[in-house]
Subunit: 301 residues, 2 copies
């Protein structure tokens, strides 16, 4: 699992910082999460192939999280894309995109599928044989979801020593990987646990931005490997965080601690602070494993 | 008059080039012309004060000419703008902007005025005491206007030698600047032309993008000081230019020649060409005074 931060600063794009967008590569799928203005240029800068993106997840309809989407959709079209594109985002996103395509008389030459979200409770919005994506309802000034990306549990790994020892033929291997016990010709039954090792533990990533401190998300993100949680402000601005329904670095750390996650990545920094290391310092007083997102940074999870 | 090119490349924003946007400074007014994605960052890079922009002119609703507008409007709001903003653009632009503001629950704290255009003939859309702006109906795949910016003729310049010679009192100076003759106490009438020099010749700038070769614009842009005319392609791609309703460098030069303009600036280059100097070379075979727009370049007119 690899996370590339295209942008992680709050509010407006500037010459040196970009609004929210990130690419999660998981089991050879490339998920684009949020799409602030300038995302298509950030994708180019980070050498991410446009054609590998088939799903886009939009957390909410504030500009710094979606103003780059119509441009990306148009560019896909200009580049001759023919593969379907799926957009997951709040109700209204379809109207915004289709209105602009209609008025510019520029329909896409690929199929565009909108999966509009309006549920107030967590729901599974994407699932294939390797990955499941569920929403994390957040609390912000407009309807907002975080997204939980979970690898599915893979096949069990063959214990070849044991298998050869019992002279089991290779035509049974898939059955064994699937967790079945094996009956030998002499009638003995060999339990699957003696023939296999546990599969690699599936990884999980939770993206939570934008939101006020919101303990209702704990049960959804419990034990995830990596939590990206917004920290627009420091604790010194906690009143402002509450008023604007954003979080402080300390609050993000408290969520990470209570949800028992392995690692916390901070982002969505207000540009009022000169340095972002202060966010890490503040969060570490609560939770030890804190990383800082920054534009162009990648995390191998 | 000063023209700053924020972006002048066709189609999609890339790491090194930007879609169409430019700022025309004329008589201390700052007019923003078109607003492709990334315009707000280009304004910052070129150190143009956001607060000085009060009028935005959008030629047409193709993404590379307006996808940056909603972001700019939002950023103005986040920066605490209170001054009115006037948007001049094709019918539909109001719906696009208001829909996005409504869905993001982010109304501006300044007044936003939309002047929607749908006339097929040239019309005056802005006028104050110093400047007039009229549309230049163009021919493209969607409804498109160019814009003609004209300084108004200023006051006549006082000929101080003649004025002192006739012992004319200073309370008459404004009357003289306005072109009036003066009656002396002895009854003689001094003609204004003996007391003044002609005012500085007002400058004019015509922006024409995007359009196919279209002679109908000649009467509107005749004798302008500077014509910016799109040249998406070279003559070698003239069939493609006709098909997509764009122009070649040679066609832009032919328009400049026939309209008897003083200078031609080329722009809106397709990114298929390795260098933009070929556009200048081709245009110069028809018309001598050819300049090349490029992102970040300024022209003092």
């Amino acid at each position: 699992m690899k996370l590339t931060i295209l942008g992680c600063y709050a509010a407006t794009p500037r010459t040196i910082t970009n609004p929210t967008s990130q690419v999660l590569e998981i089991k050879n799928r490339m998920f684009l999460i949020d799409c602030g203005e300038g995302t298509q240029v950030q994708l180019r800068k980070n050498k991410i192939k446009f054609s590998k993106i088939n799903q886009v997840f939009i957390s909410h309809l504030h500009g710094d999280h979606f103003f780059g989407l119509i441009g990306l959709i148009s560019t896909f079209s200009l580049l001759g894309r023919t593969t379907d594109l799926h957009i997951y985002g709040p109700k209204g996103i379809k109207e915004i995109i289709l209105l602009q395509l209609r008025l510019s008389n520029s329909w896409t030459n690929y199929d565009l599928y909108f999966h509009e979200l309006e549920s107030e409770v967590s729901e599974t919005i994407f699932e294939d044989d390797k990955v499941v994506v569920t929403t994390i309802p957040l609390k912000h000034r407009v309807y907002t979801n975080g997204f939980l990306f979970q690898e599915k549990l893979g096949e069990r790994k063959l214990n070849m020593d044991a298998i050869l020892n019992h002279e089991i033929e290779s035509c049974y291997y898939q059955k064994i990987k699937n967790g079945k016990d094996i009956s030998l010709e002499d009638g003995r039954i060999i339990s699957n646990t003696r023939l296999t090792f546990d599969p690699i533990q599936p990884k999980s990533y939770a993206f939570c931005s934008d939101t006020v401190y919101h303990e209702a998300i704990l049960s959804i993100i419990e034990n995830v490997d990596v939590l990206y949680h917004e920290s627009t402000f420091l604790e010194s601005e906690d009143a402002l965080a509450l008023k604007t329904l954003h979080s402080t670095a300390k609050q993000a750390a408290r969520i990470a601690l209570k949800a028992n996650v392995k690692q916390l990545i901070l982002g969505h920094y207000s540009t009022r602070y000169d340095s972002i290391t202060v966010f890490q310092e503040e969060a570490k007083t609560i939770f030890p494993e804190v990383l800082l997102a920054d534009d162009g940074k990648t995390f191998e999870l």
